[in-house]
Subunit: 402 residues, 4 copies
């Protein structure tokens, strides 16, 4: 395992497990079974699937291996809830996750209880091997990642509904007014990048290594809706010179004219949010933009996106307004292994490494990100076209241009 | 209206309305909200949608026009549950019916109750115009058509589930053993085709008119699973000379090797049914085959499909074993207007006529068809590739070949 | 063979062969090798392919079987130029016919000469079996069908060229002014349909049989550009109530707003023709419309398309202005086998029969049709969406409406 | 212009122009017009198009602006041969370049002569502005890039031909036997990356800047066919654990089982080359592999691809066997702007920068690359799936693992 060297103890993990598992389930409180069963597009998954797949993770990677008397909840789940681990076996086709009515939501809840009980039993045992503890901690962080996906996928699903239903009243509610934009400046230097191994981190955050970073400036807050609206108003979506060639093609083919959840209405711009359709809040960070849009906006603003190394260095240096924001922030860095990167042995080696192609790194965290996940070294990643994440824009510029 | 000249009375309609509406709802008794919300493919619709759309039909075509004080249940439903009536307004995209979690099933039930009450109020009124009564009767027959679709669409949905869930224990249960195949022979003659206008019929069954039919023979029962299995075993799906060119292309592109719900397993062939996965019943009529497969089978059997005129003439003549069967029976007739066909004025004119292209007529009725729909003149129609209907095969052959 | 009972003699066939083969080659006189090599869409083929495939037909079906000492021009051609005959062997993928630069045009000419010489040698032999003569005659008619396709496919190819190149100065030049529209009326009767077997006919024109035809009227000339322009001007492409549902979907998805070769320009409508871009001729028959458009126009004009039986009966009866026209005329009849239809044994049995699904019959002939092909019983057929053929509209209406 | 500060003189450019233009035309000597007109896929272009587009480049960017009396060869060419420059105007759809038979090849030759004469006239003028000279030099380098594409695109076209035609006897002929694999080792350091501005370079090679590179080793020759064959034989294409997730999906969807031009035949492996079908040469560098395949091979070989910085540093350091090879070498670096990158003003600013998304950098050069293009700083780039370039594999590994 390239995961943390020193782990939480079994009792600590047992306590965190209860908390994390409860908070997942709390996300669907008040939803209907239908809300949790539908899949709005192949990139998204039903909430019910997220709740089951995170359970499957514990069952497959922890209980199967370390709890010899464990009886699987239902044998067919092994393939059915396998997301993408070839080493585990077959996978049910991703695009068809929303075509499965049964198990119904209540049965998924029962599955969760079954596995939770077995996990608590296991963690109460006298001694557990190191890699078991590491896998439990990985499972917790994995589930927290899916907590955010539950929200982003629900938002996308509800956004297709002509009746504009709200997910929940206060969800990801409005941020305080944005201050005027300021910049932090850093001189060229060799910087240390990546996680130091103290506490949990994903394998893709390691190993810690050196990068040379030229002088740069980085904005002290993300781009706001008001600023992005100026871009839209200035013909931002009609001017190919502002766009990457591939971005322009995608935007034309799909008819983009604003961020995915913006709605132009008679009384002005609205935004579809987890709280339903709301007037566009000018002071809030623009959210749910693709890498293509972020890049075009930056070009229009005579700036650029930061590299992930600039971003991490600024965060490490305590630069003003870097951690945390309300949106993930696209960087200009393609998602790639750090020098010396090694995948973990076994199936969990498939966790991150095999996705290091044609995706871009996002840094920071969003209103939907569990707070414990927000750290300077965390590397989120999505394809350039992805718009259904809470992804925004932080500007940077070369230090030499001042 | 080209619909019936003499209608049921308002009290009769009120009684039938209650029965038909209840039987629709009974079809989803015991199902979960998830079962009713999912859409397995663009050609199918969620059960919840069928329940709402049939309600919309009464609301839009009857209550809006004839019940002046009627308050719509929810304004947005007018577009949302419009299937394909351009004259009514916009339509929600068909392929996205399964992306809508709300209204939830319980709200659709409330919608049904709301409209049912208004309909009963209307039908209790002293006098109602003729075309109002005609539209109510059309609405009842419309809803009965959707009752069958609820079952065919649920079967398709459940068939994708790796856990093989059953819809209901006794649904469309096995038929009695098939007798040996016999033939009825008819000489060449001018025959009368189409509905005579006494009692309800759809516009596409009219006007009654003449056709010349050459001498023919028609089988006295549909093709059985045992017979179709012989076709499969004889390489039926590997021999292009048996197939229409287009059918061969579709079959190759989609990897057909047996009817859609057949499953080859270690212990022999199984069939996925509304009762779950069952051993293939050799004496049961082969079901859920496309027009392409029906045509290929007939060629393999040195026979052909009947024309819809031959079929109707045989049924009218009381030929043995024509009415009713357990499956719809593909004919060789393309779906086309009868000579002198006129569509009804207004939106209901879109009911049948505009689909008269590139579809083939099926005659008879299936185990899922309401009994009152089974009549010699009824014209069902689906595209050549359709396999998710309870569609089977009846053979015919030229009279001159004996 | 269901082909003609009494054939041309070998010397007559030899003479016709020379004429037909020369006229094919004359169609590409003055063209460049590039013109003959490109394929504009999967439905069309390069002219070079047509010239080679028609040659392959003689080589495969006649020389291989009846000329024992014949040496194939090049062995690989047997699969390469096989269009769709499974009984002959593999087929090169149709959509890739335009990806093959070699054999170059000159080599195809050499192939033609090689086969022509062998054919003349064969036809000079003392005695030839009946089915050999029948296959030669079929091959001649087959080649004549491809002569028309050479022109329709070239027109489509050149229509994509922004420089509007003409095929040839006088090709399919303008027709004389259209007379005012008149109608011929026929009473209900049993009519004889299909070819009587005297002289050549394709298998799909047989057997001759009876149909009952209700009273009808049929127009004495095809619809003109001026008439069709009125339909366009009246919003014909924006009114769903005029269209078949499937036609409306296709028209919307592909953005149809006029016939495929019409171009709206500043000075008025132009039409791209084999003679290049020309002002739209109001008196000329509208051409290159799909079945969907023909059907919509007829509905707009309070008429309908004739059935193929009405058309043939009118032509047989010598009705005014039926034979020949400048365009093929869409009928409302789906392409289906006649009662008692039998395919020929062997590979040529694949010639027509296997395409009898989801296509519509056209009758008559066009400016590009060899004159000897124009006869009352000839059945041309294309899918509803096809627009690259010289296909137009003749109106009909029920006799009872007068 | 971010292009070179000190240019070749006008007379030198005139001389080079003649040479470069002649060598382009020499590439199609002996080909048929059909060979030059076809487009085998949207990513490739007809040879005729390359010959015209490179001419258009001079006409549009040089003659239009600096030769006031220049008369365009044909006005429509401005849009027709515009590849992707939005600032110039409309572009003819890329995927349809192979649907245009005219202008024929001879007319393209005439176009070339017309522009060549005007260019020579211009370059003979007394004084020319600096940016004119820079654009001429860019045009020459641009044309040289297309020379390689002419060959790669022809190879792909001919590879689809069932008759395996050769492009030319000696083209890209076999390389000498590969020596045993050795490695060069470099310690961690800050390295200078990018072009120093002396002599020509593309804008994407600048500005020169610093990168930190950890200790690494790099192979002294590319991977051979024999080595790659061992990967194939070891189930390389059947083992998902060796592949990036996206690469595995592409490989499965497209049925990859070996490099695109390898053919498994009875007598052993063959490779389709510009010289026709040849026995696979075990000592030759494996070529025409995608980034996905290169990455999977490296993982199988317990190594990795080099970063583009490692590669350039090794080349700059004179490491053994880096420059030149017979194949372009995939690096692990996503194509991205260098720190401080600026695009040139005007339309040529679209030359490189807008493609910096979801592509990977290749370094070195191939047997088809003009020798003057091979320099340590040159950055070629293609998407991960691209297989029709002469792209191979050079291995690297972390310095710390020894």
């Amino acid at each position: 395992m390239s995961f943390p060297a020193r782990h939480l103890s079994a009792p600590d993990l047992a306590q965190r497990l209860a908390l994390v598992r409860d908070s997942s389930q709390a996300l669907v409180d008040g939803l209907n079974p239908e809300d949790c069963a539908l899949q709005s597009m192949p990139d998204a998954s039903p909430a019910k699937w997220h709740l089951a797949h995170t359970t499957w993770f514990f069952e497959t990677f922890v209980l199967e291996r370390f709890a010899p008397n464990y009886a699987p909840f239902r044998t067919g789940f092994r393939d059915f809830y396998n997301s993408y681990y070839h080493a585990v076996g077959e996978q049910f086709p991703r695009a068809q996750r929303g075509l499965i009515s049964r198990p119904v939501l209540a049965e998924v809840f029962a599955y969760r209880s079954h596995v939770d009980a077995a996990m608590q039993l296991l963690l109460g045992a006298e001694t557990l091997p190191e890699d078991c503890l590491a896998l439990v901690e990985l499972g917790l962080n994995h589930e927290q990642q899916h907590q955010e996906l539950i929200l982003t996928d629900l938002l996308h699903l509800l956004s297709l509904n002509p009746f504009h239903p709200a997910y929940r009243a206060g969800a990801c509610s409005a941020s305080p007014p944005a201050p005027p934009l300021g910049w932090s400046r850093f001189e060229a230097s060799i910087v240390d990048i990546g996680h130091d191994g103290i506490g949990f981190a994903f394998d893709n955050e390691m190993p810690r290594h050196r990068q040379f970073v030229e002088a740069y400036e980085i904005a002290d807050r993300p781009v706001t809706n008001a600023e992005y609206l100026a871009f839209v108003g200035d013909g931002g979506y009609q001017r190919p010179e502002l766009w990457l060639s591939e971005g322009w093609q995608v935007a034309q083919a799909q008819g983009w004219s604003a961020p995915i959840y913006w709605r132009r209405q008679e009384g002005g711009w609205q935004e579809f949010t987890l709280r339903g359709l709301q007037p566009l809040d000018p002071s809030r960070s623009v959210s749910n933009v693709s890498h293509y849009e972020a890049d075009a906006y930056a070009r229009w603003a005579s700036a650029r996106l930061p590299t992930e190394f600039e971003w991490e260095h600024a965060a490490d240096s305590g630069a003003r307004g870097i951690l945390p924001g309300a949106v993930w922030e696209w960087t200009s860095s393609a998602y790639a292994p750090y020098p010396g990167f090694r995948t973990a042995p076994g199936a969990v080696g498939e966790y991150n490494g095999k996705f290091m192609a044609n995706q871009y790194v996002l840094r920071g965290g969003s209103c939907a990100t569990p707070a414990s996940h927000i750290r300077p070294t965390y590397r989120n990643f999505f394809p350039s076209y992805a718009r259904w994440q809470f992804s925004g824009i932080r500007l940077a510029r070369d230090g030499s241009i001042r």
